[in-house]
Symmetry: C2
Subunit: 712 residues, 2 copies
């Protein structure tokens, strides 16, 4: 057991190293010049607005969390849960909130520095600052992911070890409570991502429409007071929300793997090793990301004076390749050391996962980058007006679901069968979930190349609002272009891993149900051909992402309408010199809208699994999870890629000097339609498909008991 003790503290070593480096990165960024007084004021206003939003969000979240804690408390009283779950749930949410705040803080403290660098020192240095700050964000993600899963595992293992000397009983408690931790993280991530998504797009759509279309102002024109809210949105949605989303995926994958490892290795001496393995692979991912970050920073610094968009894009993409190769290398030795050479199929599984993530990223790029046919074709159709352009965007978005779905299927089948799933179901499932962990272990680097997009966006906004002239804006736009490419890859990986994680979580649910019903005389058939309740569960599951999307983009639309009305009034006053405009009014409008917009989805995500469970039984819930996963995955890719391609089609027309033409106007309509799809609804699907699973796991005992009492 002595090497086990060492293995158990490995995640903390990873977390500590990542934390130290993150602090160093932040210090490096903080030494840079923040720019002139006006730039600083604007940056401060964005920071204050972002903080105000997150505070408001935290309040609503706490109310929800208190209600859920009470429900969990009642479940504890009936013996459905342990007391430690209450704490686990709260800390799951707490870590998620923390990462949202920290990531927002880093990017709002960086934005004007990037603007200043773009102004004084050019693209290379601007890139350097943005990437360093984004890398710090990614590292903090690594810190939190490793620390919280490591801490809870060790704490619970120690705590229950005091009451039982039986390893299996001890681990049973541990993995059950870890699931509650995930649910807290998922729920918080749902608020951050969804609320942030509503905020950012309501502000963006409203500000753009009145500013650009109606008043003929440029993007982020200083005379449009709604633009501050738009820039706040980038930080709360695309930075804070994105980080919370990644954390939740990663933690979810780790804990699903631990659960499935517990089941697969129940009668093996490797049981603790199999539970530690996902944390170790994750630690390897953090170290691999660190190495890649240093290499990429070094390369970027070399190009300080002659950087171009294509050089920077190639560089950041190579970093992802380096990270991936290193994770493969590290994993080989870790798996050999921890599990022994008899279990190398786990290694192949992890390669499958990494490859799948990378491929889905590449497909995303092909469908959204202006270099490739889909986006080019969309921008072509601008010639026959906004309607054909939008239709073309929707069409390519739908087409883009095919290859990622086939990749997920192939990866799942590969991991399952290579792990011997055809003769040992649990082992096959463990292999599938390891693939998800491997895919997500590169998250710190993915965040590093993802988060600097919104930072560059903000930097551009500040350049515009501080009237630094078109040259500076051009530089930040180039930075933004690099960000778009790499963000596409990052998004692809996140969606792919969410699907695999949800499969693993669904399996964890199903295994839990199997354990629960073993002694209850209820047999659970998950056969949709033999039991119409299963088909019903699938139906409801498939519809759920449609309902959620509708609720979310409906909220964005209504809030955007309000922003439009307020912006019309204020811009008129600003242009006529009557007033300087009141950016805070917009922040208040969208904050309220975002909060209102997440209440019903937040309740539904808890209520649906319970209601379905009571009416259709645990088999119906398994079907619900599967249905949500299936259509949520398709909708996520459809909406993200349609929105991304429409956005880039517009940018392409702008780059070719088309601003002001009818084609450009058409593309602006397309971009605005795509916005809530890609930045509000699309990313929320990632969380929805996992949240439904973990809520189902959490309420499994309740559902099995109630359904059993009602119908048997």
């Amino acid at each position: 057991m002595s090497n086990l003790v060492f293995l158990r503290i490995v995640p903390f070593i990873g977390a500590l190293v990542a934390l130290i480096l993150a602090i160093i990165f932040i210090k490096i960024v903080n030494k840079k010049d923040r720019g002139n007084k006006r730039m600083q004021e604007i940056s401060d206003a964005i920071y204050v607005g972002s903080r105000a939003y997150l505070n408001q969000q935290a309040k609503i979240m706490i109310i929800f969390f208190v209600v859920i804690e009470i429900l969990l408390f009642i479940m504890v009283q009936f013996g459905f849960l342990q007391y430690a779950s209450l704490l686990a749930f709260a800390t799951g949410g707490g870590f998620s909130l923390l990462i949202g705040y920290v990531a927002m803080w880093i990017s709002t403290r960086t934005n004007s520095r990037v603007t200043q660098a773009a102004k004084e020192k050019g693209l290379g240095e601007a890139m350097n600052i943005a990437f360093t700050a984004a890398a710090a964000s990614g590292l903090i993600l690594g810190v939190v992911a490793l620390f919280d899963t490591g801490f809870w595992f060790n704490a619970l293992f120690w705590w229950y070890g005091k009451y039982t000397t039986d390893l299996i009983t001890n681990l049973d408690y541990v993995v059950n409570i870890l699931v509650t931790f995930t649910i807290g993280a998922s729920f918080a991530a749902f608020f951050m991502r969804t609320g942030g998504g509503i905020f950012t797009k309501a502000a963006d759509m409203g500000a753009d429409y009145v500013g650009k279309v109606e008043s003929g102002l440029r993007e982020d024109d200083y005379r449009n007071p709604a633009t501050i809210a738009d820039n706040v949105g980038d930080n709360v949605g695309d930075v804070g929300g994105m980080n919370a989303d990644s954390l939740e995926s990663w933690v979810g994958a780790i804990i699903a793997t631990e659960f499935l490892g517990f089941l697969a290795f129940k009668s093996s001496p490797l049981i603790v090793n199999s539970i530690l393995l996902p944390m170790l692979i994750s630690t390897a991912g953090v170290f691999a990301s660190i190495v890649a970050m240093f290499i990429i920073r070094g390369v970027v610094l070399r190009y300080k004076h002659n950087a171009t968009v294509s050089v920077l894009t190639t560089t950041t993409m190579s970093g992802l390749l380096i990270t991936t190769v290193l994770v493969v290398l590290f994993s080989y030795f870790i798996i050999r050391f921890v599990m022994g050479s008899g279990y190398m199929y786990i290694f192949y599984s992890s390669i499958g996962g990494l490859l799948a993530g990378f491929l889905i990223g590449v497909f995303t790029l092909i469908y959204t980058d202006a270099k490739y046919r889909p986006t080019r074709s969309i921008s072509e159709s601008a010639k026959s007006g906004p309607a054909t352009l939008v239709v073309s965007g929707l069409s390519f978005g739908m087409e883009s679901t095919v290859l990622p779905a086939l990749t997920v299927v192939a990866s799942m089948l590969f991991s399952f069968y290579i792990s011997g799933g055809s003769s040992n179901l649990q082992m096959g499932l463990y292999g599938v979930s390891i693939a998800a962990v491997a895919m997500l272990s590169v998250s710190p680097y993915v965040i590093a190349i993802d988060v600097y997009g919104p930072i560059a966006d903000n930097a551009g906004g500040i350049a515009e609002m501080a009237e630094l002239g078109p040259e500076v804006r051009k530089t930040t736009d180039k930075l933004d272009a690099v960000g778009n490419t790499t963000a596409a890859i990052g998004k692809g990986i996140l969606i792919g891993s969410a699907a695999i994680t949800a499969i693993a979580l669904g399996q964890a649910y199903f295994s839990k149900i199997g354990l629960l019903t073993e002694n209850m005389g209820i047999s659970v058939i998950i056969d949709f051909m033999r039991d119409p309740k299963i088909l019903s569960g699938l139906f409801i599951g498939v519809i759920l992402p449609f309902l959620f999307t509708s609720l979310l983009i409906g909220s964005v639309g209504r809030a955007a309408d309000k922003v439009v009305i307020e912006a019309r009034k204020q811009i008129k006053d600003v242009l006529s010199g009557k007033s300087k405009g009141d950016p805070r009014a917009f922040i208040t409008i969208v904050t309220k809208a975002a909060q209102r917009g997440i209440i019903i989805p937040g309740i539904l995500v808890f209520a649906v699994p319970v209601v379905v469970g009571i009416l259709l039984g645990p088999g119906g819930v398994a079907a619900l999870i599967t249905g949500t996963l299936l259509s949520g995955f398709a909708m996520a890719i459809f909406m993200s890629n349609a929105g991304g391609a429409l956005d880039n089609a517009k940018k392409k027309i702008e780059e070719e000097g088309g601003s002001g033409t009818p084609e450009h106007a058409a593309s602006v309509v397309g971009d605005t339609v795509g916005d809530p799809l890609k930045d509000t609804a699309g990313p929320s699907m990632n969380i929805l498909i996992k949240l439904i699973s973990v809520v189902s796991i959490e309420t499994a005992v309740l559902v099995v008991t109630m359904y059993g009492n009602l119908f048997h």
Copy 2:
């Protein structure tokens, strides 16, 4: 057996009566005045264009059919099928093509008569003519549905009766070959509906954009040569395609029920009765529709001089209620007489189906009619531009999937459990499929209230092109408004019944697999939690509707682009007096596009079930069917309702005198985005979800054998 002989000829009696009445209705319509020479010329041009399109379509279809017949022939050689299947397949396609031609012929011979009536005699008489013609279309549908199912059943029963005295063996052959008949009908319907859908929307989008948006002409302005193609599109897509679609649903439901009845009553003396029952309920539906048509015609004739939109809407809707109540009444006696009082649960099942169809129709109405919140809210958001309007339309479209899905689930569970499905699976499934037949038995009336929409549309087009003045157009617009409401109900019923039919067909597939594998040592587990191949099949199934939608609306977009370019050229020439325009050029463009657009979907729909079957086994195919059903249903409702609501939002703005305002321009964009969704992709989903099932059934033996040889 003597009363069985009587029962076996009942469908022919129904078909004969319906045929006589249809001829009478057509004669009544043909006596009406066709209008002045110009109107007749335009009407003739529409007829010639429609016929040319259908001829071209028939050519491509025949090529496809020959290829498939060769494949079927090969399957016969390997003992996978009987020779009679070859003929059944061909006639299935033939009947579908026939109904498309007849329906197109009726409506193109009626359109100018409606215009003339609107000009000379007002709304009431225009309505009378349009409704009578549409009723003839509906009756012809009834004739074909009853005749072809009745004929094939009797012919096969007689033919195989010569070779076997064993009833079960005889019926086994009969129902198996009937499935091949369905596949022919489905495949032809797919061509008609999808090709027609591409044609109509490409013409519409292109004509509208250049005519209305760019050149400021009115809809159907005579100076826009593309409008003839637009009016042709109404007849080939919304009339011909719609009729083929309904026929396929109806025939599919009847034959799936026969298949499931065969299995459920295998050891009961009621076996033949259970197989005849769906045809008898369908005959009841035809008679009920006839009664309702007479009543409604009577009421409409009374209102000849003082008809209003609301009176006519209420009248036609009451007709649907009358049809439904009569079917319930007839079914009660039929089931009591044919099956005996011990099987009255079949009656309750049929009530459940009828109610579900009606409810889904009502939900469709609520989400698409300008009287209710969704469409009102969409038209409100025109104030903040086309993008928010489109987003709002998409959002309500997605929301609108929820209630129909829950209705289908409730109807399925009700039919299954009331039929004793919890103790006898096959009996429960028979109950579910009877619900689908009941839902579809009202099809003749549904077609009657559905097809006069496109006729009214054509009549309005002719009024405009013949420059009859705004008053005539106003009258035809009113007729169109009545048509929109009732068409919404009809569409809802079609989608709902498609889902239930697909469930029944899926069950038929599964049952067939069960029979096939019984002796082959392959056990088929359809458990997506225990077998990743099943989850893979579901994944592919869920993605398929996204891929199809993308292919179809992509084709529309590309064709519309070509129409735009040609229209720009021609309209310029027409307005400058250089030429009178060449409408045939547009018909050629969209015909080519429509034909090209259906080739890949047509191949895929055959290839996917076979490839999935060989790689993932029969369980994977069952999952494929289910996945396609689930997401196809959701996508169908989403797209139909989003498009319908966007269309009506535009009409609302026009009615309130908003033409020419920015709000109106925004709503035109929304309408154009919605067009291919609601008229091309949406309706194709209905057919896709059933076609995948029947192709799977047809290739089941092949798949089981090949998969068995490859992997076992």
